[in-house]
C-alpha cells in the first residue's frame, strides 16, 4: 500500500485516526524524501558548488542529480532550464521582477485569471505599482471555469505577459492551459503557468505545453518545505537580469563591476536550500516510480467517490463544479460557518482547510467569505471519505 510510505499518515488526532484532507495546503512526505534529507545531513553535509573536498563534491552531485530528476519529471529539455526556488510564490515573484519588469512599461498589460492564488495576483500588483502596468483578469463562470470566449477581447496589442494557474487550489478546476497558451502564442505573448496544484496530480510536460515559464511548489508535490522549481525557456533565462545578488550567481566581482554566472546559477544567489533540493529530487523520483498515470487514475477514482459521498450531507453545496477537476472539494454547509465545520470535524480526526484559501477574488465572485476545502491525494482512501461525510453530518446535527 502506498500509504505505508507516508509516516505522517499513521497517527491519531484527538484520539481519532488522522484523515488528512489538507493536501492542497501541503502534502505529506514519503519516507524516501525524509531519508534523502537525513542522508544529506548525516553523510554528505557540505556546501555545494564551491568545494574541492569530497563531501562538497558528493553534496553537489546529490543536488545536481535532484535537478536532473525534476527535469525528467517535467520533461524539461535540460536541467539548466530549472532554477531551485523556495516555492511557487518565489518563482512567480522572480519572473515578475526580472523577465517581466525588465520589459514592461506603463500601460502594458498583464493578463491573469479570476482563479488565481494570491501568489499570482500580488506580485503583479506590486509590479503595477512599480511600473504603471495594467492588470487584466480572465473572468470565471459559476462552475468555476474560465470564460474562454472573453480572451480574444482581453488580449490586446498591449498585453505583455500572461500568467495563469494550471489547477485551481480553491476549486480544483483544471484550466484548459493548452488553449490559453495557443491563444497567447498567436499574439506573441509569453506565458507562465502556476503549477503548484498541477504537478502533484497531473503529468506535466513543459515542452508539450510550450509555456515560457512553469512554477512548481515542492511541499505540495510530497517534497520538503522551502523547495520549488522555476522552469524557464533557455532564451529567457539567458537574457533576463538576475533576481537576488550574492554568492554563487557571479563569476567575477570587483567593486566597480560584476560578471554574472551562467544559467541556472545566475538565479541561485547564496547557499541554496540544499537538503530541500535533494529531498525534492527524491520526491520527483518517488512520483515517477509510482507513475503519474497511476496517480491520476487514483485521483479520479477518489474524485468520483467523494463527489457522490458528499451528496449525503444535508445542506452541503459544492463550490466549483468544473468538468475537469482534480480531487479538491470546496463546499459550504447551510447554516454553519466554514470555521465551525473545520473545528468540529477536526475533533473527529479530519483535517480540512477553511477560509478563502488565498483566493479571495474567487470567494468575492461567489459572495462568500470562504469555504471548507477537502483536498485529497492518491494516498487517501474511500474509508477516509466516509469519515469526512460522517463527521459533517454530525456537525450539521449539532447546529440543528
Amino acid at each position: 500500500m502506498l500509504r505505508e510510505h507516508f509516516p505522517g499518515l499513521n497517527q491519531r488526532v484527538h484520539g481519532k485516526p488522522l484523515v488528512y484532507f489538507d493536501n492542497a495546503a501541503t502534502a505529506q512526505r514519503p519516507q524516501a524524501v525524509i531519508d534523502a534529507i537525513n542522508d544529506y545531513y548525516i553523510n554528505h553535509n557540505a556546501n555545494v558548488h564551491r568545494g574541492v573536498h569530497f563531501l562538497s563534491e558528493s553534496a553537489t552531485d546529490l543536488y545536481e542529480n535532484a535537478r536532473l530528476s525534476l527535469a525528467k519529471l517535467l520533461n524539461a529539455p535540460s536541467p539548466k532550464n530549472l532554477i531551485f526556488v523556495r516555492g511557487c510564490t518565489e518563482a512567480i515573484n522572480l519572473v515578475a521582477q526580472t523577465f517581466v519588469r525588465s520589459k514592461i512599461k506603463a500601460g502594458d498589460e498583464i493578463l491573469i485569471s479570476h482563479l488565481e492564488h494570491h501568489s499570482n495576483i500580488v506580485p503583479w500588483q506590486i509590479l503595477r505599482e512599480q511600473t504603471g502596468a495594467v492588470l487584466k483578469v480572465i473572468p470565471m463562470n459559476e462552475q468555476g471555469e474560465l470564460n474562454l470566449e472573453s480572451i480574444d477581447e482581453l488580449i490586446t496589442e498591449k498585453t505583455a505577459f500572461m500568467s495563469v494557474v494550471h489547477v485551481s487550489n480553491a476549486l480544483g478546476t483544471i484550466n484548459p492551459v493548452k488553449t490559453l497558451i495557443a491563444k497567447a502564442k498567436e499574439a506573441g505573448i509569453p506565458v507562465m503557468l502556476d503549477g503548484a496544484q498541477a504537478v502533484p496530480h497531473l503529468k506535466v510536460d513543459v515542452q508539450d505545453l510550450d509555456c515560457d515559464f512553469y512554477t512548481v511548489s515542492g511541499h505540495k508535490m510530497y517534497g520538503p518545505t522551502g523547495s520549488g522549481i522555476l522552469y524557464g525557456k533557455a532564451e529567457h533565462l539567458e537574457e533576463m537580469p538576475p533576481y537576488q545578488g550574492g554568492g554563487e550567481m557571479i563569476s567575477k566581482v570587483t567593486f566597480d563591476h560584476t560578471v554574472y554566472n551562467a544559467v541556472p546559477a545566475k538565479f541561485e544567489a547564496g547557499t541554496p536550500n540544499i537538503a530541500g533540493g535533494i529531498g525534492l529530487g527524491a520526491a520527483a523520483e518517488f512520483m515517477m516510480t509510482i507513475g503519474m498515470d497511476k496517480i491520476a487514475q487514483r485521483d479520479s477514482e477518489l474524485r468520483v467517490y467523494t463527489e457522490l459521498a458528499l451528496k449525503q450531507v444535508p445542506g452541503l453545496k459544492l463550490i466549483g463544479t468544473a468538468a475537469e477537476k482534480s480531487p479538491v472539494f470546496s463546499f459550504v454547509i447551510e447554516g454553519i460557518h466554514a470555521h465551525d465545520v473545520g473545528t468540529i470535524i477536526d475533533h473527529y480526526g479530519v483535517a480540512i482547510r477553511t477560509g478563502h484559501h488565498c483566493t479571495m477574488p474567487i470567494f468575492q465572485y461567489y459572495g462568500l467569505a470562504g469555504s471548507c476545502r477537502a483536498s485529497l491525494a492518491f494516498y487517501n482512501t474511500e474509508q477516509e471519505v466516509d469519515v469526512l461525510v460522517d463527521s459533517l453530518i454530525k456537525a450539521r446535527k449539532m447546529f440543528e
Binding site: 466554514a338 465551525d340 473545528t343 478563502h356 467569505a369
Partner: protein, 148 residues
C-alpha cells in the same frame, strides 16, 4: 459530551440563534471593522458614546459561530459601561484568552468566562477576541482591527 460540543451547545449556538444587539444602527459615534484575514472572520462594531458612557453597542459581520456569539455576549456585557471600564474589560478579556497564560477565570467578566473553553482550540481564540479588538479600536478612533 466533549468540551467542544458543550461550548457550542450551551453558549455559542444559543447566541447564534438569539443574537443580542445585532445589526448596523442608523447612527453611531464610533465604529471599527475587525478582520481576521486568515480565518475570513469579519465583524463590525458600532458604538454610541455619550458623556463617556457606551450608550449603545451593536455589531454585524460575517463570521463563524464563535465569533458571532462572542460579539453578542460582548455587546450585552459592555452596554452601559463607561469607556474606561470597557477598555479595562477588554484588557481583562485579553488576559483571560491568552493562549500561553494560565488565567482561566476572571470574576468581573461574569458570563464571558464561558468562552475560556475556546482556549482549548487555539486557532479559534482569534475568533473569540476579534470583536473585542474591534470595540477597542472603535473607541480609540482606529477604523480597523485585527488580532494577527
Amino acid at each position: 459530551m466533549t468540551e467542544l460540543s458543550k461550548l457550542y451547545k450551551q453558549t455559542i449556538l444559543e447566541h447564534n440563534r438569539h443574537p443580542r444587539n445585532y445589526g448596523k444602527p442608523q447612527e453611531c459615534t464610533h465604529q471599527a471593522e475587525g478582520l481576521n484575514a486568515i480565518c475570513g472572520d469579519q465583524v463590525n462594531v458600532y458604538l454610541t458614546i455619550e458623556n463617556d458612557i457606551i450608550a449603545a453597542i451593536n455589531y454585524d459581520g460575517e463570521s463563524c459561530a464563535i465569533s458571532m456569539a462572542s460579539a453578542s455576549m460582548m455587546t450585552e456585557f459592555i452596554k452601559g459601561r463607561s469607556v474606561p471600564d470597557a477598555l479595562q474589560k477588554f484588557d481583562l478579556f485579553c488576559k483571560l484568552m491568552n493562549k500561553n497564560g494560565d488565567v482561566d477565570h476572571i470574576e468581573s467578566l461574569e458570563k464571558i468566562n464561558t468562552l475560556v473553553t475556546v482556549k482549548k482550540f487555539p486557532s479559534r481564540i482569534k475568533s473569540a477576541t476579534l470583536c473585542w479588538h474591534a470595540m477597542a479600536a472603535a473607541i480609540q478612533g482606529v477604523p480597523n482591527a485585527t488580532t494577527e
